[in-house]
């Protein structure tokens, strides 16, 4: 049996109230008032689709060995790198094996479901036993555009497997169409789109029903057979129309979370699927349909195993774990939409040296240190001579991942001198449960909420943007551990 064995979601902590956008930009385009309800999830200043995919991947891996997947497929239309495989960064960050297959799926909002289908087929072929699929997007609309209102950031990850599946893969149907509702040239930063009426009437209304009908026919099913129907369409009126045309009970349609997160692009149907799995029951049939340059429809049936899956950070957890982004200007600066000044200190250059990064690849991207085989002391960065003064063994180290260990704050500060686009720069010394200590940046927190002794957990984040060379440099930061119901 092949299908989904585990899942995880990730929604960034910050939410921007759309009214704030309208207050600032409504003068330019008063029609955006129609989109100004609710809030959108906004990636922190140190997040991008890769870091969000890693976060979702870690939530998905919870309870599983990091070395289990035989590959990772990453879907996004906002990849930080055009050349340099983004999935490869994710594989290192998640501490996967070297002998894994990896690929980026991009160019269409349906690429999330396409990546998932490719993983299902890889497992189905018998070549692979476990494949990790991550989907993540962080799309930008121009200031004053409807897209700026509608888009939100989010990610989801799934472990596709040939055993212990919680949702069995039962079938699929795909349509490819060069229907250009949205587009972005190679060097464009912002999304562009054609007229809404055309997108709705010709795009969604034609392609989604056609795809669903194709799947139903291929599998001899009726729409009523599904306990949950997931499709990505941010037009509220159009969704009502589609429900009617498809003959689906609106109660069975998975919430699109437009008012809480926004349209997450390639991650949209994937995050919705993760949400659906959170309250699915054995026997439930789930239909997922993506939209963008065509459609993929995928059909799953929930198995008994879903009851055995360890509780994880999914959509519900992330919807509750939120903080308001206090200003619209911060959003513009974080996404590098408008010029800003961080002073002469911020102009100091830190050139990226790839051969150095390569030597410390696992330490930087995987947060992998070393553990002394003689005395058992974990240490970061990895050492050759044991740091324990009583031990001092040389070259007796084994790899030791700190990425999945929690730590306690030993000391901290909020530094206003550091050139940062999210001052103060918060950092401190942390002591890991099980040993090891280091001084690292903190993120997703406020200085006022910190205390010595508080628990933190590592998160993969952007460390530095090498502007002159267009290089995003990543490392890990500490995030206070929160219990969110």
């Amino acid at each position: 049996m092949i299908g989904i064995r585990s899942y995880g979601a990730y929604i960034p902590r910050y939410r921007l109230n759309r009214k704030k956008i309208f207050e600032n930009m409504g003068w330019l385009n008063s029609a955006t008032a129609a989109h100004s309800r609710g809030e959108k999830a906004v990636a922190n200043f140190d997040e991008d689709p890769v870091t969000m995919a890693v976060a979702a991947g870690m939530n998905c891996n919870n309870g599983f060995e990091r070395t289990e997947p035989d590959g990772v497929y990453f879907a996004s239309t906002t990849l930080p790198y055009k050349e340099r495989q983004n999935a490869g960064i994710i594989a290192t960050a998640l501490g996967m094996r070297e002998n894994v297959r990896s690929a980026d799926f991009t160019g269409a909002l349906k690429s999330g479901t396409t990546a998932m289908l490719s993983a299902l087929e890889a497992v189905g072929s018998g070549e692979m036993k476990n494949m990790l699929v991550c989907a993540s997007d962080c799309r930008l609309g121009k200031m004053g555009s409807p897209q700026e209102m509608i888009f939100g950031d989010g990610a989801a990850a799934f472990l596709i497997s040939d055993h212990d599946v919680i949702a069995e893969y039962k079938g699929s149907y795909s349509i490819t169409s060069d229907f250009v509702d949205h587009f972005r040239g190679s060097f464009e930063k912002f999304d562009r789109q054609w007229e809404d009426r055309w997108i709705r009437d010709i795009g969604y209304e034609d392609l989604i029903p056609k795809t669903v009908e194709g799947l139903l026919k291929k599998n001899a099913l009726k729409i009523d057979d599904f306990a949950k129907v997931i499709y990505a369409c941010h037009y509220t009126g159009e969704r009502k129309k589609l429900n009617k045309n498809l003959g689906v009970d609106p109660e069975k349609v998975q919430d699109i979370m437009l008012g809480e997160i926004g349209d997450m692009g390639a991650a949209q149907p994937m995050v919705m699927l993760a949400g659906a799995l959170e309250d699915a029951k054995p026997g439930d049939k789930i239909l997922v349909v993506s939209f963008g340059s065509g459609c993929d429809a995928i059909y799953f049936e929930i198995t008994d195993k879903i009851n055995d899956l360890k509780k994880r950070k999914g959509v519900i957890w992330h919807l509750a774990n939120k903080a308001e982004l206090d200003t619209y200007a911060k959003y513009l600066v974080w996404r590098n939409i408008i010029p800003f000044e961080t002073g002469l200190r911020g102009e100091e250059d830190s050139p990226t040296r790839w051969s150095m990064i390569w030597r410390y690849n696992k330490a930087i991207y995987g947060f992998c240190g070393s553990k002394c085989k003689k005395c058992g002391t974990p240490q970061f960065p990895p050492q050759r001579i044991c740091v324990n003064p009583e031990c001092g063994a040389r070259d007796e180290m084994e790899e030791y991942y700190f990425s999945d260990k929690t730590a306690k704050i030993a000391s901290y500060t909020g530094d206003n001198l550091v050139a940062s686009i999210n001052p103060p720069q918060i950092y401190g010394n942390i002591l890991f449960e099980g040993g090891g200590k280091t001084m690292m940046d903190f993120t997703d927190c406020d200085l006022e909420s910190l205390k010595v002794g508080m628990s933190v957990a590592p998160a993969f984040r952007i460390k530095y943007y090498d502007e002159r060379r267009g290089i995003v440099r990543y490392f890990w930061k500490a995030v206070p551990v929160k219990e969110v119901e």
Partner: protein, 401 residues
Amino acid sequence: MAKGIKDKVAVLGMGCSRFGERWDMESEDLMIEAFTECIADAGIEKKQLEACWLGSYFIEINIGKAGIPAAVALKLPFLPVTRVENKCASGSEAFRGACYAVASGACDFALAIGAEKLKDAGYGGLPAIAVDGQMEVMLHADWTAPGAFAQLASAYQAKYGMSMEQLKEAMAYVSWKSHQNGVMNPRAHLRRDVTKEQIIKSPMIAYPLGLFDCCGVSDGAAAAIVTTPEIARSLKKDEEIVYVKSLQIACSSGEEAMYTDWDGTSVMSTTLAAQRAYDEAGIKNPREEISMMEVHDCFSITELVTMEDLQISQRGKAPEDILNGFYDLKGGGVPCQTDGGLKCFGHPIGASGLRMIYEMYSQLLQRWPEERSVKDPRLALTHNLGGIPNRNVVSLVILGK
């Protein structure tokens, strides 16, 4: 077995430039300023010098590498000039080089000079250059000096169960006391009489350190000429001679940064270097025997924990001693930062260690007006700290008559 350096080297002369925003001066000019005073004080001629050590740090925006800049600036006649650098302890490192040269018998007269020009960075604080190498930038927090030292305060406050307000009161007293001394010093950079309230309310730099918890950033130079005790006695009266009693340096082994035993409320290198220095100088009870100190008060909290690391205050008791005026110039305890410290002089890296020694040397020789003099000093200590609390180099110098 080696017995250390006690009484094997004498300080023959010293010089110190005015510290401050010396916009019209190059490092070379500052070196000339310090050297001119130094060689006049020593009473020898330039041609008698046999070796020189130069301390400097941010050479990227300054004099560049090697010892050549000092040789050229001072027109040292093809002397062996060695540039040394050990972070913020570079000035002390230059002094150590010169002392060891004399103690070893390699030469009779050696010059130590330190100079730094920070004000060409174009912004406040120390220049944001990858001083610990590229991997440090990649693998640790994006820290600055105030942020790294500020953590001493959050850890200290938590360990001793104080409120941050209580700790900030003691920290403010540290800065206030230094300003009281700096006001009187014509060579100091910051000579404003500030109130404790102003200090506490100053803008936050790195929590909980406000602007007045931080030392200044300035330009300056200082120099020393050292010789053998025999030669010193042939050139000067006995009461005009200051001897080196101890020279110790300790570098972090990585233990504090990566191993769990250190709790972040002290500086291990200071603790270890101090013990070695006391042993070398034969000091049994530092609180009683040390007459005065110039310590590395890059931040108020650094001075506070240093009082404990140097065994002058007991662990957890520095705030009490500070607030009781034990470290005041005329407080009857161990006066600390008699010249105003880094707080008022600023911290031109390569010069600071030598500036501290200059102050202690001048105090031992009772050269200052009564109002800023320590009465009957016997043993003086300087403490020069480079790096940050979890990864550093500490230099201790003890001088005496």
